[in-house]
């Protein structure tokens, strides 16, 4: 347990000592959210409320899908992973620490988007609803960190950023995170409905609209299981 805590501490301290990545990771999704609310917010009531779940989902996905993988790729390139691999640390501990260390990113982006919703949009949530939505998003996005780590184990930092962006943007669009899902063409909506990103958004919306949640939770649980396996295999077989 002590080794796990120190490994997580190492990751968190890295974020604090190099906060630039955190800042700019949060800036993009908050920027998009503020722009969309400002542009289209007057079109309906409670624009901040209406958009916070999909944009909050996009925000946590953006930071959690990108940062662990880019960090892993950077550690891979500079040889830090090599130092760890020849030491006594179990593989799973390095991966788990990277995944857990993505939580501050998710919390930061949700806090920033909420602040933006309060000031730019018309925020109508109660505290209990906000807390549940945040908890769902922060925990529900962690499976995606495994895939990010898997990609970062195999490629350089530049390639990791490009690949993860190529996954993030289309997934976000077809899952209804940028435009209401109901407005998407049927064929695209059908593609989106099988993606874990869609199920994360639906799970986060469930506390707000009272919709079904169990099926979405099971999809994310399966995503986590597959992601953990893929990350372990990718890291174990990476040429360090």
């Amino acid at each position: 347990m002590r080794a796990m805590w120190l490994e997580i501490r190492d990751e968190l301290v890295g974020i604090l000592r190099e906060p630039t990545a955190l800042f700019f990771s949060v800036l993009m999704p908050v920027g998009f959210f503020t722009f969309f609310v400002a542009m289209f917010g007057e079109a309906w009531e409670n624009a901040g409320t209406a958009m916070i779940v999909p944009f909050g989902t996009f925000g946590v996905l953006a930071v959690v899908l990108m940062n662990p993988g880019i960090g892993m790729a950077d550690a891979h390139q500079r040889g830090w992973l090599r130092v760890k691999r020849v030491s006594g640390i179990p593989l799973w501990m390095t991966i788990a620490a990277k995944v857990i260390a993505s939580i501050p990113y998710a919390v930061a982006v949700l806090a920033a988007i909420t602040a933006s919703a309060v000031f730019v949009g018309d925020m109508r949530f109660d505290a209990g609803e906000v807390a549940v939505v945040f908890a769902v998003l922060v925990l529900g996005v962690l499976p995606f960190a495994f895939f990010s780590v898997a990609i970062g184990s195999r490629v350089g930092a530049n390639a990791a950023a490009a690949i993860l962006n190529a996954i993030l943007m289309p997934s976000a669009i077809v899952s209804g995170l940028w435009f209401p899902y109901e407005m998407l063409p049927e064929a695209i909506a059908r593609i989106g409905s099988v993606l874990p990103t869609y199920h994360l958004a639906r799970l986060a919306m469930a506390p707000v609209d009272g919709g079904a949640w169990l099926g979405h939770l099971l999809v994310l649980a399966a995503t986590a299981a597959v992601g953990a396996m893929v990350a372990t295999m990718a890291y174990r077989s990476a040429r360090l």
């Binding site: 120190l6 490994e7 000592r17 040889g79 130092v83 020849v86 006594g88 179990p90």
Partner: protein, 319 residues
């Protein structure tokens, strides 16, 4: 056969056994059926030029790479099948390893010590390696010598029985290099078996009890430094600058000549007994004056040249 410490190699216990070890990339064997054993308590050097397969060999010993053929046993353990137990007894410092810039020395040691069941107290290790004053220094702010000492520290913090040190002194200034040599000798005196990967002849000659010479993936010789040099004792080495142009092939045609290399106009000729007479006779016939003529006894550099046909790398060639 006795080593520097008087170990009898026919009786000492093998702590690492490597048999027909092979690794291929793209169909090419970068390590080709290498066989050797490392005995407990010795400094075992793996010597060869860059790209010879030395690092790949020790990476397979440490379980970082899976062999394509042959076997490795570290105190009877298979590093691939049993990585956790292997890493408890084998500490590794590999080249091309870098710590994260934003980690402090003390944090790194505390982190790595937590990975092992019976670590050395990391503050004590930090003090022994002269890093106490750098406890709160970021890795990015350490000098080259300090970084190498931190690498050694993280390799030793698990209290291993074996330490693999890969190109540890590459890039260090001469004083830092010699300080590191003293550190390695002190480790050996404490009972740690050391596998030292190096391409510096002087380092192998100074530190190693035995040397395995690897070239192009193959083991070409395995002996004590004195033994390797003795095998070339009957060889002679001549160096001179010919006063008028001389075709090296004319020298190679002599029966006593084994190798001829030309470095910027200076010829180095190695050969067997009778070399000096044969070469000077040829020069006399061709009326070539030999300037700056030197006849040397064999060194480990010459042994390497004789074994591989290539000049060894030095600090100067590295720069």
């Amino acid at each position: 056969m006795r080593s520097k410490r008087g170990l009898r190699h026919d009786r000492a216990m093998a702590i690492i056994e490597v048999r027909d070890l092979t690794k291929r990339y793209g169909g090419r064997a970068v390590v080709d059926e290498v066989t050797f054993s490392v005995e407990e308590g010795e400094i075992f050097a793996i010597l060869g030029p860059n790209g010879a397969g030395k690092t790949t060999t020790v990476e397979m010993i440490g379980g970082l790479r899976r062999p394509d053929g042959g076997s490795v046993r570290v105190m009877g353990l298979d590093p691939i099948a049993d990585p956790r137990r292997t890493k408890e007894i084998l500490g590794m410092q590999l080249q091309e390893s870098q710590f994260a810039d934003r980690i402090r020395v003390g944090e790194a040691l505390e982190l790595f010590s937590s990975f092992y069941p019976s670590p050395v107290p990391w503050r004590q290790l930090m003090e022994e390696l002269g890093l106490s004053e750098q406890e709160r220094t970021l890795f990015s702010r350490l000098s080259g010598g300090q970084r190498q000492r931190l690498s050694i520290a993280t390799a030793l913090v698990g209290s291993p029985k074996i330490a693999v040190l890969d190109e540890l002194t590459t890039g260090l200034d001469p004083k830092a290099r010699r300080d590191t040599w003293e550190l390695i000798e002190a480790l050996r005196d404490r009972g740690v078996t050391i596998v030292l990967v190096t391409h510096f002849m002087e380092e192998a000659e100074r530190l190693a009890d035995r040397v395995a010479v690897i070239d192009r993936g193959r083991l070409v010789a395995l002996d004590t430094p004195r033994g390797l040099i003795s095998s070339t004792a009957s060889r002679q080495v001549m160096r001179f600058r010919p006063g008028t142009p001389l075709d090296p092939d004319d020298l190679r045609d002599l029966a006593e000549v084994e190798t001829v290399t030309d470095e910027g106009g200076t010829l180095t000729v190695t050969g067997s007994e009778g070399l000096v007479y044969a070469v000077t006779s040829l020069l006399a016939r061709r009326q070539v004056v030999a300037h700056e003529l030197r006849v040397d006894t064999a060194t480990l550099d010459d042994a390497f040249l004789a074994l591989t046909g290539r000049e060894p790398e030095t600090e100067e060639t590295e720069r």
